[in-house]
């Protein structure tokens, strides 16, 4: 694109982010502050993920962008188009073919492989934010490993509802040290964070934080002995591919209560249908 550098960001900004990423993988789950830049899309729409992707992306990489698990949601389309325009990279919808996958709110159903990098867009990187709004305080809590409040919060849910009422952005503990917000993925996806062969990078543009989970890293979802962590399940199967093990979106089909459930991961669903057919 005329007038702009490869992948939009100037080289100095990329280096700053790259140095931050090296710290992030060295201290898994720790939020590294970085000099986030304004991007030509609004904060909250994936600027953190976009900056990370722009900093790691090479001309030979194949990029996949998903939002809500789908390649064809408007924001995924928009971000994919952005990188086609500013980096000229090849893009794909096939999880298996991608080197770099930028995602908002999902981890693909297809197991990731070694060498792949999953870049998450993160709105609020601080898992303790809704318990303690002050940044000064939460940084201190991380420093002192003072995570009791998080369990108090989860337990208050149990006392009130009989369940932990956190269903997405469910907090995890990384390598037995940092409590981390996995971004607003459904807790259904939390187990995929654990011991994954792929590298997971998280970027929060507005909050100017980045963090990482290296491959093969222990990631546990917080829970209690008498209320162990569990993931969502559906009585229905995917109405399109019949999957009984993927995360389903509910689709309203009429105004009389009719609804159906379909895979949120469009690539997974289409691939299965291809196989089934």
């Amino acid at each position: 694109m005329n007038g702009y550098n490869f992948a939009y960001l100037d080289e100095q900004t990329k280096r700053m982010i790259r140095r931050g990423l090296l710290k992030a993988v060295a201290i898994p789950g720790y939020q590294v502050p970085f000099g986030g830049r304004e991007m030509p899309m609004p904060y909250g729409w994936g600027t953190g993920g976009v900056q990370l992707t722009a900093s790691i992306l090479g001309a030979d990489d194949i990029l996949k962008v998903i939002d809500q698990g789908a390649d064809d949601t408007t924001n995924a389309v928009s971000i994919r188009h952005f990188f086609q325009r500013v980096a000229g990279v090849e893009t794909t919808t096939a999880t298996i073919a991608a080197d770099v996958i930028q995602t908002r709110h999902r981890i693909p159903e297809t197991p990731l492989r070694s060498g792949q990098i999953l870049v998450f867009q993160v709105p609020i990187p601080e898992p303790l934010r809704f318990i303690e709004p002050s940044e000064q305080e939460t940084r201190l809590m991380h420093a002192l490993e003072e995570y009791g409040v998080m369990h108090v919060k989860l337990y208050e849910d149990i006392a009130r509802y009989g369940h932990i009422a956190t269903t997405y952005a469910y907090p995890v503990k990384v390598d037995d040290r940092y409590v981390m917000d996995p971004s607003p993925i459904p807790k259904f996806d939390n187990p995929k964070l654990n011991d994954s062969p792929a590298l997971m990078l998280f970027g929060a543009g507005r909050e100017k934080r980045l963090y990482a989970i290296p491959p093969y890293t222990r990631v546990e979802s917080l829970d209690f002995e008498d209320h162990p962590f569990e993931i969502q399940s559906w009585e229905e199967n995917c109405a399109l591919c019949g999957s009984d093990h993927s995360y389903l979106d509910e689709v309203i089909t009429d105004d009389k209560g009719g609804r159906m459930f379909v895979c949120s991961d469009t690539d997974y669903c289409q691939t299965r249908r291809g196989e089934v057919a």
Binding site: E38, M39, G44, G69, T73, E135, Y168, F224, E250
Partner: protein, 393 residues
């Protein structure tokens, strides 16, 4: 048969075409020129430059036009452009004392050296709609004073107080200030960084916060010591020549508030200061900024922190309109997945509620179920001692 939504790319392209069409409006009328915006809507242009922190009247006017007059969108456009610019030099500190004044007023003294200059202000206009402008009446040119260059010097009002020792002295400690455009915020923030955040903070937000201090949420007894507007020279030091040269002039607004004094047994009481500075003609913004700057000094000056405007992290973290509008508007993005997970939980809770609230049990959602109470008791976890039963802590 249900088919997942397709054609997002086409929809986006169509939306952009429609937007451009709406922006152009009725083709029977001449298209608005960027230069006209710079001339005739200059206060909007100044606000865009200020909050985008880029002094470029032409591009600010373009942004305003491109955004169809949406100031927040225009600020964002210019800010996103700004971030791609290389940094060629760092200017010497601006000297607002040498400002070529267009306006200069003080609310603290009736007469001041250099005089009160009302300048091009809306202050004393009666807010009556001027229907003549609807008819496109000619506007006679303002008369220009011929003796402007010989105007008598206009020393800063606060410097006069300072000479008497009545106001706290501000000393340049020579430290390199933080750069909020490159470094992530690190709370607590020093005053130099705070002022930078305020300078590009949203005017409406600062106005509301400043106002709140006047109404008692962290009152700081302000007087508008001096407000000045005008042109200031920008100088850079060229190492190769070991010389400082002027690279141009920019329009600035500056407000210096005089606030109630502090004092200790060791130090005699003095007036304190609040400071506001903005690009262009941005008087309201600088006044609000000065109030908030002073409020944020509460801790430094040993005052109780009781009002929202005094809470630095709260004030600063939410001041930026690009941040705020981005995150508020992101709620428009699809959240099917998170919503589905909430739906799933809610349905489950309601099923359990219906089961448990059958008449013979009489339980409600507001109380833990019998089962939960038992399990909590069993594992010996009181409300304040739950860590014992916790995984992953």
């Amino acid at each position: 048969m249900y088919v997942a939504v397709k054609g997002g790319e086409q929809a986006i392209a169509n939306a952009h075409r429609w937007l451009a069409d709406r922006r152009r409006g009725d083709r029977q009328r001449p298209e608005l020129e960027v230069a006209q915006i710079g001339d005739q809507l200059r206060l909007a242009v100044d606000r865009v430059m200020s909050e985008a922190s880029l002094y470029d009247p032409e591009l600010a006017a373009l942004a305003f036009k491109q955004a169809s007059g949406d100031l927040t969108e225009a600020v964002f456009l210019l800010r996103a452009y700004r971030t791609t610019l290389p940094r060629l030099a760092i200017s010497e500190p601006l000297n607002t004392g040498d400002m070529r004044l267009e306006r200069r007023i003080s609310a603290t003294y009736k007469d001041i050296p250099g005089g009160q200059i009302l300048g091009p202000t809306y202050d004393y206009t009666h807010r009556l709609l001027d229907f003549l402008q609807l008819a496109g009446a000619d506007v006679p040119p303002a008369e220009v004073r011929e003796d402007v260059s010989e105007a008598e010097p206009a020393p800063g009002i606060l410097d006069l107080l300072d000479d008497e020792g009545l106001v706290e002295r501000e000393i340049d400690d020579g430290a390199e200030p933080a750069d909020i455009t490159r470094d992530p915020p690190d709370y607590p923030m020093d005053r130099a960084a705070r002022l930078q955040m305020l300078a590009r903070g949203d005017e409406g937000y600062l106005l509301a916060l400043g106002y709140s201090t006047q109404r008692g949420y962290g009152r700081n007894h302000p007087f508008a010591g001096e407000i000045r507007l005008g042109q200031v020279e920008v100088e850079i030091h060229v190492d190769e020549w070991d010389e400082t040269i002027c690279v141009g002039e920019i329009a600035l607004s500056e407000c210096q508030m005089i606030n109630q004094f502090g004092g200790t047994r060791e130090a005699a009481p003095k007036f304190t200061r609040g400071y506001g500075l903005a690009f262009g003609h941005n008087e309201r913004k600088t006044m609000a900024m000065a109030l908030v700057d002073r409020a944020l000094r509460a801790e430094e000056l040993g005052e109780p922190v009781i009002g929202p405007a005094q809470q630095a992290e709260f004030v600063l973290a939410h001041a930026d309109s690009v941040d705020a509008s981005g995150f508020v508007s992101h709620l428009k993005l699809p959240h099917y997945v998170d919503f589905q997970s909430e739906l799933d939980l809610l349905r489950r809770l309601r099923r359990e509620h219906a089961r448990n609230s059958s008449p013979d049990l009489g339980e409600s959602l507001d109380r833990p179920s019998t089962e939960e109470e038992t399990s909590a008791r069993k594992s010996g976890q009181g409300k304040h001692d739950r860590e014992s039963g916790v995984h992953g802590l």
